[in-house]
Every structure is written in C-alpha cells, then in structure tokens.
C-alpha cells in the first residue's frame, strides 16, 4: 500500500512554495493581472523555476534537475492550486517535461530544468490519457502541418512537444513556438490560458516514433491527469479554508453564520470530501512515483478530485453569499479554474470509463 502521508521534506517544500506565493502572488495581484496583456506572472515563474528549482523536479540530476518524484511535484501543485498562481508549471514542468522524459530527450530537458526555457505539450487541453493518438498534425518531408486547438500554457511557451502522424505512424516532435501561429482563446479560467496552435510546414526535432511516441504521450497525459488532481485538491482546500474563515467572521441574525447548523453540516461534508480527495491525490502521486497501480490510482484521483474541486468552489461561492458573486472577490477565480480543470486531461466520466476497463466492470 502506498505511503499516503507527507514526508518532512515534502512539508518543507510546501512551506517554501507557500511563503513565496503568499508574498509574491496574493489573489489581489492575480485578479489585477487577468485583464492585462500579461496574465501570467513570468517573474514569479522564473523565481519558482530557477531559485526554488521547481521546474526540474521531475528531471534526473544528471540532466540538471532535482531528481525528485511525482510526490514532490504534487505538493507544489497543491500550493499553486491553492493560490491559483498564473504560472505555466503544468504545461512546462509537468506535461512537456513528462513527454520529454518518456521520449528520452536530453537536449531540451536541461534547459527546462534550469528554468532557461518554457515548453508545453501540443494537445488539446481536454485530451484524456486513454485518447487515441492525435492525428490533426501531419508530417511530410520532416515538416509539420496542421492545427491543435486549445493548448494549455502555449502563450508563454518557447517550445511545444507536438504529436503528429508521419508516413510510418505516430511521431513526437519538438517545435519552436516562434515558427507557428498562436491564437489565444478567451478562457473561462482567467488564471490559465489556452491558445490554438497552427503549423504550416514547420520543421521540428523528432523525439520519438511509433510505440515509443504513443507511450511517451500517454505517459505525459497520465502524469498530467494524476498531478492535476493535486492542484484540484489545493484549490478545494483554499475554498474550504476561506469559507470556514468567512463563516466565522460574518454575522447575520446576531450570530456568526458558521454557527448555523445547515452551514456547519455543509462545511463538514465538504471537509470530508476534501479529506478523501487528499487520500486519492496522494495515492496517485505515489503510484506515479513508484510506477505501481498507476492506471487505477490516476483514474480514481482524476475522477474524484475534479468533482470535489468544483463542489468546493461552488459551495464557497454560495456560502459567501452576495460578496462571492462580485468581481472584486477571489472566489470566481477558483470557480473558473475548477470548472475548466474538470474538463482538462479527461473528464471525470472519461476517467471512469478508463477505470471500467482496468477493473473489469464493462458497460
């Protein structure tokens, strides 16, 4: 049975990330940034990537990374989710890095690990780990042509790992974003951007072909889905914590609203759901770290934490009452993130369908 508690090292890591974020990225700053032309905080991203060395957590030491595991990455994502921090960690340090690792790249990974470069994975953000290999980009004579809609973190990426179909089947390429057309999408999640990618005869660096390409992509998506659950957990915990705080300080009818039993019971249920989300998220991170029981653990965490995050954000809004409906209050940043993340890297239903196969409960 996997280890579900946090280690001391993990707790220290959490503390340093939380300190940095509360100092540099309070929600007021996140909100203010959403309507500027710099929705991402790249200075913060550089600090996280280089000073804290978080961009290379998954990268082995011999490639300049920290040689840590998915467990540590999960802790970082919990904190990033808690702060809805506008940094391209998921796209670069999780999705692109996992694909490059699985494909055996040694060229770009040191750059990503050092925080010199930022990358992402060229798939539509809703793609599930068990999806068929994407065929919207084709390779002719080593040049890539096609379109990939709604790629996460592409706005600020310099490289993109693109799945494409060549004469002999699946291929994985590294493409420079500057050689492609990027069309930003107005996102429901104001703190995480998506863009459409168009490639018109662009040259790429071939990473992998055939089964190796397929497996690398699946590995990246599986890692992404399993670790997104950690971000969703952190988000749910912020919603719970801030709502509990509000319920203790808001008075109506001469009482703190948190003394009303209907509100207490809903918060108790939300706490119970969040506790279970924690257990599933830890199990998924441990599975990704050890390679054991990955399929089931990731599907369970992804299906469970997606819905808990949405529930938490919706409950937070409702229990904040009118103030939660205003633009100048942070709850909507969490609601938009939660609802978008529910669609990301496989919907809960999609993960349950994957599970059905793994545990032999066919339709």
């Amino acid at each position: 049975m996997s280890e579900l508690l946090y280690s001391e090292v993990e707790n220290d890591l959490r503390a340093s990330v939380r300190d940095l974020l509360s100092d540099r990225s309070p929600w007021t700053a996140v909100l203010a940034r959403t309507e500027t032309d710099q929705p991402y905080d790249l200075a913060l991203w550089r600090t996280l990537a280089t000073e804290l060395g978080l961009a290379g957590l998954l990268v082995p030491e011999e490639l300049g990374g920290a040689g840590a595991s998915a467990r540590e990455v999960a802790v970082v994502l919990e904190e990033l989710g808690r702060a809805v921090a506008p940094v391209p960690f998921l796209g670069s340090a999780v999705l692109a890095t996992s694909a490059l690792l699985a494909a055996g790249d040694a060229e770009l990974l040191p750059e990503l690990a050092a925080g010199n470069r930022t990358a992402t994975l060229g798939v539509t953000y809703t793609t599930a780990p068990n999806a068929v290999f994407p065929a919207s980009v084709h390779v002719h004579n080593g040049r890539l042509t096609g379109r990939i809609g709604s790629v996460v973190d592409l706005d600020v990426a310099e490289f993109v790992v693109v799945p494409a179909v060549g004469a002999a089947g699946p291929e994985l390429h590294v493409v420079e974003v500057s050689s492609a057309r990027v069309t930003p999408v107005v996102p429901l999640d104001l703190t995480r951007r998506i863009s459409h990618l168009e490639l018109d005869g662009v040259s790429g660096r071939l990473l992998a072909t055939g089964d190796a390409a397929e497996q690398a992509l699946r590995s990246a998506l599986t890692t992404g889905a399993g670790l997104l659950a950690a971000e969703q957990l952190g988000l749910a915990q912020w919603c719970l914590d801030s709502t509990v705080d509000y319920a203790k300080t808001r008075y109506q009818f001469g009482r703190q609203i948190g003394s009303f039993q209907a509100i207490k019971h809903r918060l108790a249920d939300l706490w119970a759901a969040t506790s279970s989300a924690l257990a599933t998220s830890r199990a998924a991170a441990s599975a990704l770290a050890t390679g054991e029981d990955v399929g089931v653990s990731v599907a369970v965490a992804a299906a469970y934490c997606s819905d808990v995050a949405v529930l938490a954000a919706e409950e937070a809004l409702q229990l904040h009452g009118g103030i939660g409906m205003t633009w100048e209050h942070p709850v909507h940043l969490y609601l938009g993130r939660a609802k978008s993340s529910q669609l990301a890297l496989g919907s809960p239903e999609r993960h349950r369908a994957a599970l059905a196969t793994l545990i032999d409960l066919p339709a």
Binding site: S150, V186, L188, G322, M325, L343, S347
Partner: protein, 390 residues
C-alpha cells in the same frame, strides 16, 4: 364572456394596439382601470379579485398590446406598486402609480446593504428627521436598474436604540437627488447588472414616507411578499428554460454525446419538467384564488435546476467549454440568458440561489411557514440594534 373580458374587448376595440404609441396606450389602459384590475378605481384598477388579473394580462398579450420597458416591471410592477397601493396616501397613488405603470418612470429598490443580506432587518442606513425632510446616509448594494431609475423604494433606520425590526421606516427616494451616487457593481460574469448606491445627506420629504415611522419592516414585508408571490407563477412552455438550450445543443451536436451525459441530461429534463408543472400548478391555483406555498419552492428549484443545467452544458461542450465569450464590463438592464455562452450561464446562475433570498433563507421559510417547524432559539430579537454583535 365575463364583464371584465367584455371591458378588455371594448378597450381594445377603442384603442387598437397595432401601431399605437406605447405610452399613450398604457396611460389609457391605466385610466380604464385595466392596469391592475384588483387595484381600486382611480389607481389603475376596478376593485376586481386579484385572480382576475391573469386573464386580463393574457388578453392584452394575445392582442399584441404594447408593454412597458422591461426595466419597469421587475421592481416597479412587482414590488413598488403593490406597496404604494397598500401603504400610500391618495396623493402618493396619484403621483406615482400611472408613470410607474407606463414605464415612464423606472423604479429600483434600496434594501440590501453590505452588512445586511439575509438579515435585512439589521440594515444600517440612517434617516434622521430634519424639519419636513429626512436626511439619509448609508450604502446600499445589489440594486438593479439604479442607473436607469427615477425613484427608489428605500428602507432606512430611524431609531437605532430599539430592536432591529422596530427602528426602520420606509421611504420613496428621489434618485435624482445630488446625494445619490450610483456605481456599477461588477459581477463574476464580467458584467454589472447591479449597482452600489451611496447615499450622502440625501433629503427625502416626509411626504414620501410609506407607512408610519418605525413600521418600515412591516411595509418591507409587503414588498417582499409580493415579490415572492410573483416568482414561479408563470406559464412556460416545455423546454422553456435553460434546459431547452442544453437540449438543443444535444440534438445539434451528436459528436458531444456520451452515455453518462445522456442519463444526466434526461434527469435534468425530468427535473425541469417537474418544476414547470409545479409552477403551472401554482399559477392555476392563483388564477382561482388559491395561492399555494409553492412559490418559495419554485424559486429554490429554479436555482437548483439552472445551476445543474448550466454546469452540465459546460461539460457537454468539451473543448469549447474552456472558452468564454467576453469578459467586457457592460451594464445590461436585463440578463441575457439565451444568447450568451454556456460559461456565462454557468457563472450567472450561481446568483440564482443568492439574489432575492438565498436558498438557505427559503428553506427556513418553507420549514417554518409551510411545515410549521419551530424557529431556532434567537438571541437578537430583544437587543437594541446598536448593541447587536457584528
């Protein structure tokens, strides 16, 4: 044919709706007593039973008769008019009801405050007597139509030394007063349907008071009860609400369908149809003078189904659900439910369980007034407002 139906027919014959000037038409309708037939003669009515109004409205609608601008209706028709009727002086009836009905004067409501939401009676806006006037200072919030309104119904505290329900009075406030400042209140959708209203030494003549000094809570109850009677009691076609939008998307986009979403859609459809029938039953009861308590339940269910359907819609969209049409700050006078995108509906419907009474407050009301369950022990009923914990 009833007397009333004959009167409507005669009126329509005399004032053909086609091509009529809306204001002139509505003035004539008011003067004929066909505005609100259950109001007294001279106040836009004929002293008919309340239930008779349904048939009259339907007859005018069927004839394609002009209607007032939508902004006139929600607060003006639904809340201000019955309150003015019940508590107003003949002079107030004379001054306010006709232009309210025609929509020449739009009304808004200055009730909620940042510190007084569910617990409205704890509101802090002060009104101090000064000669023939009251001087009002305070801050109101969640005010629809404030930037379009000529008049407001206002509740303010005239005595902070008595328990909270006893120190309130109810006024008609001139929104053109120099002390009234209206600021848009931006919502999570990006839009500002509502406003914050700052009242800074606003002068309200005592002649614009409704009800006695200190009886503001009683007057406000009339306003709020009329609001709730109106909710839910409308005839709607099947698939008339947000479920219709979702069903249309389902029919037009086979590529989005999954087995799990199918069962969810059908459950939501059944729930929406059940709510439609519940509202229809409420309407039938009102039409024969049997008002039922289903109004609160209808509002509760309306919020639940709207939120569930719009959440479903975003999920059904898949990739497209990641996008949002437009975050631009605008100040619409009506909520645009149907033509905006699923993301907008998802965010906007979150307000349905808060505005006009939270779902929690509605459950309390149902439990206590319909089921007769005991109130919770209260600690704030006998304390002077100024001494309440906050």
């Amino acid at each position: 044919m009833t007397d009333l139906a004959a009167k409507v027919e005669a009126f329509l014959a005399e004032h053909p709706p086609a091509g009529a000037d809306p204001i002139e038409f509505l003035r004539a309708r008011f003067d004929a007593g066909l505005a609100w037939v259950h109001f007294p003669v001279g106040a836009g009515g004929l002293g008919a039973p309340r239930a008779a109004q349904f048939a009259v409205d339907e007859a005018f609608a069927a004839a394609g008769a002009p209607e007032a601008v939508p902004a006139a209706k929600v607060i003006g028709y639904g809340m201000a008019a019955p309150t003015i009727l019940t508590f107003g002086t003949p002079e107030q009836h004379e001054r306010f009801l006709r232009p309210l009905f025609t929509g020449e004067e739009v009304w808004c409501q200055l009730f909620s405050e940042p510190g007084a939401g569910s617990d409205l009676a704890t509101l802090a806006t002060r009104a101090v007597r000064d000669g023939d006037d009251w001087v009002v200072d305070g801050q109101k919030v969640w005010t629809s139509f404030a930037h379009a309104a000529r008049w407001a119904i206002l509740v303010a505290r005239t005595d902070p030394t008595v328990p909270k329900h006893q120190g309130l009075s109810y006024f008609i406030c001139d929104m053109n007063d120099a002390g009234v400042q209206v600021r848009p209140l931006r919502q999570i959708t990006g839009e500002a349907e509502f406003n914050e209203v700052f009242l800074n030494a606003v002068r309200v003549p005592d002649a614009h008071r409704l009800g006695a000094v200190g009886e503001g809570w009683k007057v406000a109850q009339t306003t709020l009860m009329n609001e709730r009677v109106a909710i839910g009691a409308h005839a709607a076609p099947r698939e008339g609400g947000l479920i219709g939008v979702a069903a249309r998307t389902w029919r037009e986009h086979p590529e989005l369908r999954t087995p799990g979403l199918h069962d969810r859609l059908l459950r939501l459809w059944v729930q929406a149809e059940a709510l439609r029938l519940t509202s229809e039953r409420l309407r039938q009861g009102l039409a024969v003078g049997q008002p039922g308590p289903e109004g609160s339940a209808a509002k509760l269910a309306f919020a639940t189904i709207n939120q569930a359907v719009s959440g479903f819609e975003v999920e059904l969209q898949g990739e497209q659900g990641l996008a949002y049409e437009d975050w631009t700050m605008r100040r619409p006078l009506e909520t645009d439910w149907a033509s905006r995108d699923p993301g907008f509906r998802y965010l906007r419907t979150k307000g349905n369980s808060i505005e006009g009474g939270t779902s929690e407050i509605l459950r309390n009301i149902i439990a206590e007034r319909v089921l007769g369950l005991p109130r919770e022990p209260r600690s704030d009923a006998d304390v002077a407002w100024k001494d309440l914990p906050r």
